[in-house]
């Protein structure tokens, strides 16, 4: 491709205490080019783009933008020079409305009324309908992303950075987003697209830079490579897909009928009439875009949210009105998504975190006194069985990397011999090798006769592990269907198609 060069990154290195996030990274992006930055979790993609956006300064190396030295000291400077970024997390304010959120990301926002009109105009133009006066907390994940995109577009960026944009979208919404991005590219805006999803990159991007452990391992043209080739470059080893031992489906172990609960989370989604059953040996996969009731479903199953007794049954026993302790006794364990502060107490040791949920089923208390020696043995067992990299069981949970802590927490729940296991986002933020081993252990437990519910936003993961498949959409669960034979289109429709697209627009 012979595009004039827009951004050149040369020999960038950035180290944090104990980790080298980026080491001698170089690549360049042409005007209007869609450039992929591909790599696993922890490969250094986020640090790299934070440097381009001025949030973090490189230790060494240079960047040039249209031939001039580019050293943004803060995001405002980057924005002024035409670099905009759409974040994966953490850059919207739920209690503020769309226009206010957009204004906060601009240097010199026009008066609110004028801004609202411009938001409407831009959202029309790019087929991303959005009402400027709505509270962001009430928007779906896809709509929130539109807020971020429009915030960027209003500033006429030359380079738009998108950090894992499709992880919160339905397949239909992904299509719409890609159309918008191609339109932008044809108008001359370059896009730096960060992802670990290979098929997306193959269909969208012109060039790709592949990072592994902070280093550039390859540059390629994605259309000319197979997904498998890129995956091996990204991971550095051949991955094996989990194998499953098909056991015969047993009797129903978990039954949920017409479960409705109010969300305790501000701007959360209440559950509305959720019903399903899971048999022993079966894995039920529950898909859905973030914020459609996944957290609430986990709370309602773990016992943190209560309902009428017969709404939730474990092995026929009504536990709907019981708390987490009684449900564990009855044979149900749960693993929430948020590792830091929900599934684990970050400042407590691994031993204490092992006691957090295992105390009941492993019999670690006597007359209310904690058997710390026994708890420590259990923690050590988990560390050994799940290959958790840690100096020992006494370090604080927060000292572990996300992937290692997740392995520890998965082990904690999976090793309690429970007959019902509920997991929300089992491999969120975990590298490919660890993710594969976690999925394998889930399948192993199912093979041993446990009923498993896996809630995830990663469709590939669900298709890989689940026997039956359902979707949470606005707090409602679709009827579970056998996973075999489902097409992406069908799944997309189950997920509610494209949210908030009722307003007519030119691409739909």
């Amino acid at each position: 491709m012979t595009r004039p060069e827009l951004l050149r990154v040369e020999g960038i290195t950035k180290a944090y205490p104990g980790v080298v996030a980026n080491s001698d990274v170089s690549f360049s992006i042409g005007e209007g080019e869609i450039h992929a930055l591909l790599g696993e979790n922890g490969a250094g993609k986020s640090t790299m783009v934070k440097m381009i956006y001025g949030l973090v300064r490189p230790d060494s190396g240079t960047m040039t933008l249209r031939g001039a030295a580019y050293t943004p000291s803060k995001p405002a400077e980057a924005r002024r020079l035409g670099v905009a970024m759409v974040f994966q997390h953490f850059s919207l304010f739920e209690a503020l409305n769309v226009a206010e959120n957009v204004a906060l990301g601009m240097e010199n926002p026009p008066p609110m009324r004028e801004l609202a009109a411009r938001i409407r105009a831009v959202s029309e133009e790019y087929g991303l309908p959005l009402d400027p006066s709505r509270m962001v907390g009430d928007l779906s994940a896809g709509e929130r992303q539109r807020v971020e995109i429009i915030r960027c577009l209003l500033q006429d960026p030359k380079l738009l950075i998108m950090d894992e944009p499709t992880s919160v979208l339905t397949p239909q919404e992904v299509e719409i987003l890609f159309r918008t991005l191609r339109q932008l590219s044809s108008e001359g805006t370059a896009i730096l697209y960060i992802s670990h999803k290979l098929e997306e990159i193959r269909s969208l991007c012109d060039e790709a830079t592949i990072l592994r452990r902070g280093k550039v391992v390859a540059t390629c043209t994605p259309r000319e490579r197979t997904a498998r080739e890129m995956a091996e470059l990204m991971v550095g080893q051949a991955l094996k897909t989990p194998e499953r031992r098909m056991g015969a489906k047993g009797e129903v172990a978990l039954g949920v009928s017409d479960l409705s609960v109010e969300s305790p989370i501000p701007f959360g989604t209440s559950l509305k009439g959720v019903s399903f059953t899971v048999a022993r040996g079966e894995v039920l996969g529950i898909a859905g875009v973030a914020g459609n009731g996944q957290d609430e479903l986990l709370l309602a199953l773990s016992g943190e949210l209560k309902a009428a007794p017969d709404k939730v049954r474990v092995a026929g026993q009504p536990v709907g009105d019981r708390g987490p302790v009684e449900r564990r006794k009855a044979g149900l364990v749960a693993a929430p998504e948020d590792r830091y502060g929900h599934a684990a107490a970050p400042d407590m040791s691994l031993v204490e975190n092992a006691f957090l949920t295992a105390g009941v089923r492993k019999g670690l208390t006597q007359n209310g006194f904690v058997d710390w020696a026994g708890t420590r043995r259990f923690a050590e067992e988990i560390i050994a069985a799940y290959d958790v990299r840690t100096p020992g069981p006494d370090v604080a949970a927060r000292a572990l990397s996300g992937g290692n802590l997740q392995k520890f927490l998965m082990g904690r729940e999976l090793m309690q011999g429970a007959q019902v296991i509920v997991i929300n986002q089992p491999t969120w933020g975990v590298d490919a090798a660890a993710a594969a081993s976690i999925r394998q252990s889930i399948l192993d437990r199912a093979g041993e006769g446990a009923a498993v519910v896996v809630i995830s936003q990663d469709l590939d993961e669900l298709l890989e592990v689940s026997d039956s498949f359902a979707v949470l959409n606005e707090g409602r669960l679709t009827r579970p269907r056998p996973t075999e034979g489902l097409t992406m289109d069908e799944i997309g429709l189950m997920m509610g198609g494209a949210h908030g697209m009722e307003v007519a627009h030119h691409v739909a």
Binding site: S302, P324, V325, H342, A345, E352, L356, T357, V395
Partner: protein, 359 residues
Amino acid sequence: MLRLEKRPTPSRFWLYATPPAAVILTMVAGGILFAAMGKNPFEVIRTIFWDPVFGEFAFYLRGQLLVKAGPLILIAIGLALGFRAGIWNIGAEGQYIMGAIFGASVGLAVFPTESRWIFPVMVVAGAFGGWVWAMIPAILKTRFNTNEILVSLMLVYVAQTILAKASTGFLKNPEGMGFPGSRNFSSYPAAKNAFLYEPLGLHWGGVAALVTAVLAYILLTRHQAGFQIRLAGQAPRAARFHGVNPARLVVLCMGISGALAGLAGLFEVTGPAGQISIDFNTGYGFTAIIVAFLGRLNPLGIVLAGFLMALTYVGGEMAATQLGLPAAAIQVFQGMLLFFLLAVDVLTNYRFRLAVGAH
């Protein structure tokens, strides 16, 4: 430029080193303050920290240490349990007053009956008084989600008004020739909190404080309830996931801290103070907050912190009579101690790094 950086694991060294470091910094800053007031800083510091233990009048003052430390420790342990769980009872002063009034009322109601059951019943009544006063913010919090900090504090002012009414009205000594204040318990043996061993200043309050410290330590480190308290404070959502009922925890922690503050009030009014009077309370309920933090919210640490704080009281009085140091200076000194402690505390979880090039 210096930059803060979070430690992967809390520093064990700084966990124990911060209180002494804070004390030393406070002595330096306090010395400057005393010098600014025209006193010899070394003399003042010596009078406060050295003389009560090793000086001329130490034989008497050493006993005073436990007398002052007892209530501080008792109240601070209760507060620490709550603070650990993220429950902020800062109205201990009110619970302390109400404990004293409840307990004293029982004793005065049966005056001048002599029975060995009177004092134990008064102790129970004292704990009950403090418990009741703490239950008001606790129940308002669990039922209506009302802020316990503000309610427990407002109730201090209410308790003070009730105390004024008690000493000039319903508990007033009928033989007191019109002076405010109740009968003096020192002349009522059955209700008196006498010294068990005077040279050490040991009375039942001191015994209760030390026993409570040991029990609380065991609770926090070995018992499931202690685990739940720590968990609820550090990660409230993880606590709910573990199976903690937040409302029950509020009632438990507020109840314990209220009852302990009430006990402290009862032991004080029947012992060192001697009678219900309009100002028998000397702010122990507030100072105990400093003691709780200085002791790192750890029961054994609180015992040490209680003695240190008692030292500033006893030594402060010495400095007041011998060197003319205003009593308020000691209050400032105590406040500074808490500031420095909070400031150096950062080193437990963070370290300072010289940042090169980065922002």
